[in-house]
Symmetry: C2
DNA sequence: CCAGAATAAATTGTATACAAATTATTCATC
DNA sequence: GATGAATAATTTGTATACAATTTATTCTGG
């Protein structure tokens, strides 16, 4: 990764002081959200240390944090890999998202002001620009950030941190199970949702959000036909 | 803390292999859940290291993990303290719990078997025994573990890990804001809830759970009259 | 004796060294 | 050449050393 793009990424994140492991964490997190890091990728501590110019101590902290969000799996004595959610995991993740997003949508409908509506629109316009210009990776990340932005506006810290974890896990699941490349055109549904929120139509907004999540799930190959290279899953019935 | 009680605690937790920082984490977590560690308590790394017989590295990992669950607050360069949720935080925590517990209750109603019902009863009987024999601390912890057990039975890993964080945060909030000592008689409501689940009466179970959470919140002093020693909160209006 | 600066002690943040475990390679055997 | 044990290399886990920062104490002037 170039020095330039590194700086861009750091600047993107708001909030003043960033400690070193915040930066490393954010980079790896974004790489996963943008699907530049595929599920299953081994995350070597020393290599990452050289890339970011810090010691393993810092890398280790960042990886731990990612593992608490379950975006990375740390296998004792065997290092960290990017999580590869199973089909069952993915169903669980999307179920949890329905639970959280419903609450978030209702909260945002209750007390969203014009400035916030505008902020949401700005986010989705950026998403649209990315997809239309072919920058799928950035588009996927911005799509996730739209949902994070909503959670932020719900003004409930625990729900926000949970949503953070769920959005990145969803991104991993999409990376693994999305059927075809023409997939991620979520922005029109995002715009519809914003309109419903702006009108304060809570029922419609929740309904749109649920359908939106249904569509995300529909695009995934969750029929259990193992479009995966997970041998354990394939031969799960053998040694039973 | 004695060597003996340390071993007891370790044995309590299920699952085979425990790494060192798992043990330290579990001890501090339980101490917070049992309210032996009051909100605001400073958690010195070296002292904890001596207590548990490990280096600061391990303590640090445990504290980080607790801070990701927001049970502990790490202030840069100034160490870790047990979190002291504000009144607003507490409302947010209980709101999030309603969201999660509703989903959990519905899931458990859908597919709880007799063995699980029995397990739930066993947990609440233990809780009852503790409260009746005057061991309030253990009772509070078991009360929390009942809700964690439910989340486990919901069979949704993300919801479980979120519930874990919320239950311990609730415990902290109770420690800070509970009005009178005669408070925590949650076990009868727990028994009622189990009955509803056993009958598979989803609507009733959800209703009971919501009322249960209402009662927990009702027992708290959240009227903003600052039964707290938090000077920042008391003088929040001064330098505005 | 009290306020505030200067200094000392304690505590946290990061890097590094070494031990323990895992993974890769070599070598002997069939 | 393939299989499997022995060895070497890599990688992770933990402790420790030192730097940076914060907190406590001492000193000085009023």
């Amino acid at each position: 990764m170039s020095q330039l793009s590194e700086m861009k990424k750091v600047d993107i994140k708001k909030g003043g002081k960033k400690t070193q492991d915040d930066i490393v964490y954010a980079h790896i997190f974004d790489a996963i959200l943008e699907q530049r890091l595929a599920p299953g990728t081994k995350l070597n501590e020393e290599s990452l240390g050289e890339i970011f110019g810090v010691s393993r101590t810092i890398i280790r902290r960042a990886l731990s944090r990612l593992s608490y969000e379950q975006v990375v799996v740390i296998r004792p004595n065997r290092g960290a890999v990017v999580a590869s959610p199973s089909i069952e995991d993915t169903r669980g993740i999307l179920f949890a998202r329905r639970v959280v997003e419903k609450a978030v949508t209702e909260l945002v409908c209750d007390h969203a002001d014009n400035a916030q509506i505008e902020q949401l629109k700005k986010c989705v316009r950026a998403e649209q620009t990315c997809f239309d210009s072919g920058d799928r990776a950035a588009g996927i990340r911005l799509s996730g950030e739209f949902h994070l932005l909503l959670a932020e506006m719900a003004n409930n810290p625990p729900l926000l941190s949970f949503q953070r974890s769920l959005v990145s896990l969803s991104s991993l699941a999409i990376a693994q199970y999305e059927s075809n490349a023409k997939s991620h055109c979520s922005y029109d549904e995002h715009f519809e949702l914003i309109d419903a929120i702006a009108k304060g139509d809570k029922n419609l907004a929740v309904q749109l959000m649920m359908h939106h999540l249904d569509h995300i799930q529909d695009k995934l190959n969750l029929d259990g036909d193992a479009a995966t290279s997970d041998l354990k899953a394939i031969f799960a019935n053998v040694c039973k």
